[in-house]
């Protein structure tokens, strides 16, 4: 009897999980389907069967330059991630291994910046960017993306480093390792998986960031997010082309995510699930 209940529960849970996954996935699927429709088809109403045209992709590639925003996205996502790691690794390190009374407060304060609506600092930031000539530059946006994601990067790394048992570091000290040797031979190899998954997540976050990228860029530094948004223009809303551009924009990150999903899941559930 108990077994029957468990089996039924399992079936229901599985079905529910599939349903939820499908609901989450549906917008992406519909974007892909729409990208293969003609513009009249796209606005005609909900239909899951496209006519199968490739003209949107051709147009996105030829009429508008896809490569430039793509490269901007790559440079900014990777650049901001590297910058964030350079700052966050030592920060998280010191907080994890030599915490002070105020460490928790600092961590909370960092996180609190994520609770503030971004639009609250839009005007001052815009003015600073305008006056320093950072508007529509890759450098400017890379800095913003670094700062926007820094709290999350520090938090993730902090949780990772905290999981490295202190006794192992003490063992290294007993074994005669200098601080440098301790970092090179013991700490870094143990921290690499954590740093790697933090890096992956940050690249995804930076790639998808659209509030600042759309507002602080025009043509030169516009990444893929701004590129997609440009299809909703004063000339009209081009659903099919917008969908084709969106598909092209999410494809690289989707592929990266697919190949690194094991690392990502481990990174996101670290400390919670063992």
């Amino acid at each position: 009897m108990a077994r029957a209940v468990t089996t039924r529960r399992k079936t229901i849970a599985t079905a529910a999980a599939w349903l939820i996954a499908f609901v989450i996935f549906f917008p992406i699927l519909y974007t892909v389907i729409t990208s293969f429709k003609t513009e009249p088809e796209a606005i005609a109403g909900i239909s899951l069967v496209p006519s199968g045209t490739f003209e949107n992709y051709v147009e996105v590639q030829t009429q508008r330059d896809y490569f430039r925003p793509f490269m901007n996205s790559v440079i900014m996502a990777v650049g901001s991630t590297i910058l964030a790691l350079i700052v966050a690794v030592p920060a998280a390190w010191s907080m994890a291994f030599s915490p002070t009374k105020r460490t928790k407060d600092i961590l909370m304060w960092m996180l609190s910046t994520k609770m503030m609506p971004a639009v609250g600092v839009l005007v001052p930031l815009y003015l600073i960017f305008r006056d320093t000539g950072l508007l529509d530059t890759r450098l400017g946006l890379t800095i913003v993306l670094t700062l926007v994601n820094l709290p999350i990067v520090v938090w993730m790394l902090y949780t990772y480093f905290r999981e490295i048992p202190g006794e192992i570091l003490e063992a290294a000290r007993m074994d005669g390792a200098s601080l440098w040797n301790e970092i090179v031979y013991v700490l870094t190899p143990m921290a690499v998986p954590g740093i790697a998954s933090t890096m992956l997540l940050n690249i995804i976050l930076a790639w998808n960031e659209s509030f600042w990228t759309i507002r602080l860029t025009a043509a030169q530094a516009a990444p893929l997010t701004a590129f997609i948004a440009s299809f909703s223009s004063p000339q009209g809303l081009f659903w099919a082309k917008l969908s084709a551009a969106s598909t092209l924009a999410i494809a690289p990150i989707l592929i990266m995510g697919w190949f690194s999903q094991k690392q990502l899941v481990r990174g996101l559930t670290f400390g919670a699930v063992k």
Binding site: I168, A171, R173, A177
Partner: protein, 333 residues
């Protein structure tokens, strides 16, 4: 060589005094066990000797040399941790070789020493494995191997067996004792398990709330505990204590008698009681007897005691094995 001397060693964390002030002499080649309940400061004391904690005041010297201010690596000691603290990303070989690499020993020498240690500890077949692929006992051996290769002047063990199951604990206990005989190096061993202390030690240091309650050989502590704490802590099952009229009869505030020094009879004796729970171990039986004068008392009888629960019995102490304590808790002469 590995003679360790602690002089007026004190450790405080903020306003919390962990170790008030300790003087202790550990002879070269001795197997010393620090034993005491959780939080008594035994691990802190070991970590002070290791150099993993700084002393607040006092001096620690090894072979006559003051090492109080020296970092752990320069004290010439090796430590085995409770969690084994192996490097998870390195093979067994590299784990054992690590201290030698840090000491810049040449490769051929490292190889020879690692293989010799692996041989001693039956690890030769596992040298290429990672710690994650080993059982608890094997991991513990790797940790010991890592300590051996350095040829330290003393080994420090911090509750090394508490993560192992009972059967393996027994085996490892024996292995560590054999290792001590073979190497004849000073070993300091921390445990809360008084059985480990009794079976392994040349000298036991009983700690309570950061203070040394008594130092002595296992049998000295068993035979003549200095105070109530040591009397109650050393010996298994625990010593029975009686106060009031029963103690006054012996000119003491408290008297103590070990379960194995009580005779049980159905005819007559000093204290009358009723048999409660009986724990049958096969070779021995522990009888818990509810007495009128001493409350619940434990009696150890050899073999299978043929007594039923609820049966009336009389207990009598072996007179020369009776421990008498004064009002201050100290043993009376």
């Amino acid at each position: 060589m590995g003679q360790i001397t602690l002089t007026k060693v004190n450790k405080t964390f903020g306003s919390t005094v962990v170790i008030p002030e300790i003087d202790l002499e550990i002879e070269d080649g001795e197997f010393v066990v620090f034993v005491g309940p959780s939080g008594c400061g035994k691990s802190t004391l070991l970590r002070l000797i290791a150099g993993l904690e700084d002393t607040t005041s006092g001096t620690i010297s090894i072979d006559g040399k003051d090492v109080t201010g020296l970092p752990p690596a320069r004290r010439g000691l090796a430590m085995v941790f409770q969690s084994y603290a192996l490097y998870p990303h390195m093979s067994v070989y590299n784990n054992i070789a690590f201290p030698l690499k840090m000491a810049k020993t040449d490769k051929a020498e490292i190889d020879r020493k690692v293989r010799a240690a692996a041989e001693t500890l039956n690890l030769t077949a596992y040298l290429e494995r990672r710690p994650g692929q080993l059982s608890g006992g094997q991991r513990q051996r790797v940790a010991i191997g890592r300590a051996i290769v350095r040829q330290p002047s003393a080994f420090l063990f911090d509750e090394p067996l508490s993560n192992l199951d009972a059967a393996l604990r027994g085996t490892m206990r024996l292995e560590i004792s054999e290792l001590h005989q073979k190497l004849a190096t000073t070993m300091i061993y921390v445990t809360h398990d008084q059985v480990e202390a009794m079976t392994m030690a040349d000298k036991i240091v009983v700690l309570n709330a950061g203070n040394i309650e008594q130092v002595g050989s296992p049998l000295e502590l068993y035979r003549s505990p200095r105070n109530l704490f040591v009397a109650g802590f050393i010996g298994s099952p625990k010593m029975n204590f009686l106060t009031g009229a029963a103690a006054e009869k012996h000119d003491a505030t408290t008297i103590g008698i070990r379960p194995e020094h009580l005779a049980i009879s159905t005819q007559g004796g000093e204290w009358k009681g009723k048999v409660g729970v009986a724990e049958h171990l096969g070779s021995d039986t522990y009888l818990h007897v509810h007495t009128d004068e001493g409350g619940l008392m434990t009696v150890r009888t050899t073999g299978e005691a043929g007594l039923d629960t609820g049966q009336d019995v009389w207990l009598s102490p072996t007179p020369e094995r009776l421990h008498r304590f004064g009002g201050d808790g100290l043993a009376l002469a």
